[in-house]
Amino acid sequence: MFLSETVLNPIFSLAPWIVYFPVIGLLLNIIFGGWFMKHTWGETAVGAVASLASFSAFVVAALLAVALNGQHGEAALATVAPWIHIGTLHLDWAFRVDSLSTTMMLVVSGVGTLIHIYAIGYMHEDVRFKHDIARYRRFFVFLNLFIAAMMILVSGNSYMMLFVGWEGVGLASFLLIGFWYDMDTLGRPSWANSNAAKKAFITNRVGDFGFLLAAMMMFWKFGSTDFDLVFAKVAEVSHHEPWVILWITIFLLVGVAGKSAQIPLYIWLPDAMAGPTPVSALIHAATMVTAGVYLVTRSAPIYMLSHDAQYIVATVGAVTGLFAATIAVGQYDLKKVLAYSTISQLGFMVAAVGMGAFVAGMFHLMTHAFFKALLFLSAGSVILGMERGHHHAAHHHGGHGDHHEVFDPGDMRNMGGLRKTMPVTFWLYIIGTLALAGIPPFAGFWSKDEILLDASLHFPHVYWILTAAAFLTAFYMGRQIWMVFFGAPRHEAAAHAQESPLIITLPLMALAALSVVGGFFNIPAEGFHQLGHWLMHTIGEMEIPPFSLTVAGVSTALALVAIFFSWLLYGRTPLKTGQPDPLKKPLGLLFVGMENKWFIDEAYKFAFIDRYYDLADFLAQKVDWDFWHEWFHNSVIAKGFVGLARFLADPIDLGLIDRVSHLLSDLVSASAGGLRKLQTGFVRSYALSVLLGVVAILGYLLLK
């Protein structure tokens, strides 16, 4: 909570470099990338530049963390330049280094770097499957852009600077979701991917709208949007105008719902899986979507003052957690399951920070970043393996034309038995799954347990909802494992799938290691809780609930039961080709809902999107054009004027005025006929008449 006005340690002046490095990386790739790509080593160079940029940012973040530790977590500020100073509005480009921001920086740049490295290998194959090698460079430019924006987001010293990163990551997300903008996820020419990108950006904009209103309200009520200045006045304002606090938190929640995919704005995240898998891992699982959690944690002093706000946020998070988990159960696409799982886990985090369990929320954010990135990247590896298998199979059947058969390498109904063909990926996936399902001692267990513990103490309803969600989480992950890796291959591609190269699996192993030991950052025991103590430098002292064996035991037991259920359904009798999901029969309509995402997309389309389009169309065609432009201006005004002119012209002008003027004109022309004779055309006669005039005038003057 304390801010040193003067930068104590010169290392803190390095803070802006967490942004500069990725920006330099992307500029290098924009300027020299084209030249790189002309060489055989081009792709590696482009990838290396981008990865190095990200890694440099990580190094800086690590240095900052060490320096911060050196001064016992006392926050430091590095002001770069003024941004907007108008009257009392003072916005600066100022980087804030405190325990919360460095934690985020480390997660973002750390996971980011691993994913950059993974992407070198992944994109190498992806651009070849999609037949557009030139786009390789663009991917890394966008990826670095994302890192830069995310770093601004987590290190800004004011809500407005946070907002810059907030929209910046939205842009990067738009660009990366729409990376294969001219096709759908299966590589067919289509608007699907670009639609998904657009949907993501616009939905995020709705959230940004809330954020913006919150920031403006803060400025007028607190006089600033700088974190310290806002928090310094929170208590006072809360005392006089409690509604202000409530509205700010609600507006912020709209922003959180947009960015962190909470009800009602989560709909963009599943579609966002249209992006290449490293993007899904980095942006739509590990980092960007957790920005909302970061935001609430950052705003802890505001949320702590309003129990209503906490209640709303926690409930929204919890309901999202359960709701998304139900959908995840009914999905067949490998990445879609993970996407809904991400929404669900984000619900956990939002619920946690909503309850005031900021440490638990941040803890889960961190562990989730590890294991969800691991899961996504492994899923990417699986999909690549399937693609390879598909190509292999097609190659063998060359000439039969089944190369053109539409094949979805991400559909779990096409998989099965990958345990044997992709052993490394299999084991990595298992680690990720156990971590996500909350099996001790994997990372997910510790963080999820802390959230559940907090909920059980303060918000029982949240606890029950979240426990149900945790059960479903373990279930759908088990379902995934059985369907993908066990049983017999349900498609040729799965049979011929091939393991991924080391450049892809190495980062996975690093992430797997983190998923295993990540929980030890914050072991719930006396004398530990390192992450908690570290974060409390920033968010203030928090009560740490004692470890409860009941809560931990219940959740572990439920997870195990869920996995057992999934084995019963999917493991014991593996799915056959074309066989419907075994849940379909017992659950009936319920499963249809899960399968179709509860028809929320359709409902939104019907309720908002189509209505807005109709409205816009009505305004544009009917109101603006037909009525205002054509009818009012062209018919009423213009034609009215013409009509008036006609009226004046016909009876009045022709009837009355014209007759008089005809008379006049006849007179004139008669006299003109006479006078015309004077017009001889001879210059000299004109000159003569001029002289005549002069003589006459002079004569008059003389005689006067």
């Binding site: 001889t680 055309g681 001879f682 210059v683 000299r684 002289l691």
Partner: protein
């Protein structure tokens, strides 16, 4: 000193002769010269008055008249040349297309 009205009378004579030239000659070039003569006569009065009232402005004006005359001559002669090219004559009585 010569009285001013001597000059005035002289300029009146010159001006009239110039006017006469404009009226009687059909050669466009001579008509033009006659106009120059009239301008000169007018200039003479101005300079004469300038001396009488001890003012420079009269002379300044003459200077400008000269400049304008120069411009006029340049354009006028060019016109005559053009007309001569297209109609092979500089007789102003042949140029009567403005006849009503």
């Amino acid at each position: 000193m010569i009285p001013t009205h001597f000059y005035l009378a002289l300029s009146a004579i010159l001006f009239s002769i110039g006017a006469l030239g404009v009226l009687v000659r059909r050669n466009a070039l001579v008509v033009f010269m006659s106009i120059e003569l009239m301008l000169n006569a007018a200039n003479l009065t101005m300079v004469a008055f300038a001396r009488q009232y001890g003012l420079q402005s009269g002379q300044i004006f003459v200077f400008f008249v000269m400049a304008v005359a120069a411009a006029e001559v340049a354009v006028g002669l060019a016109l005559i040349v053009t007309i001569y090219r297209s109609r092979q004559t500089i007789d102003i009585d042949d140029m009567n297309r403005l006849k009503g």
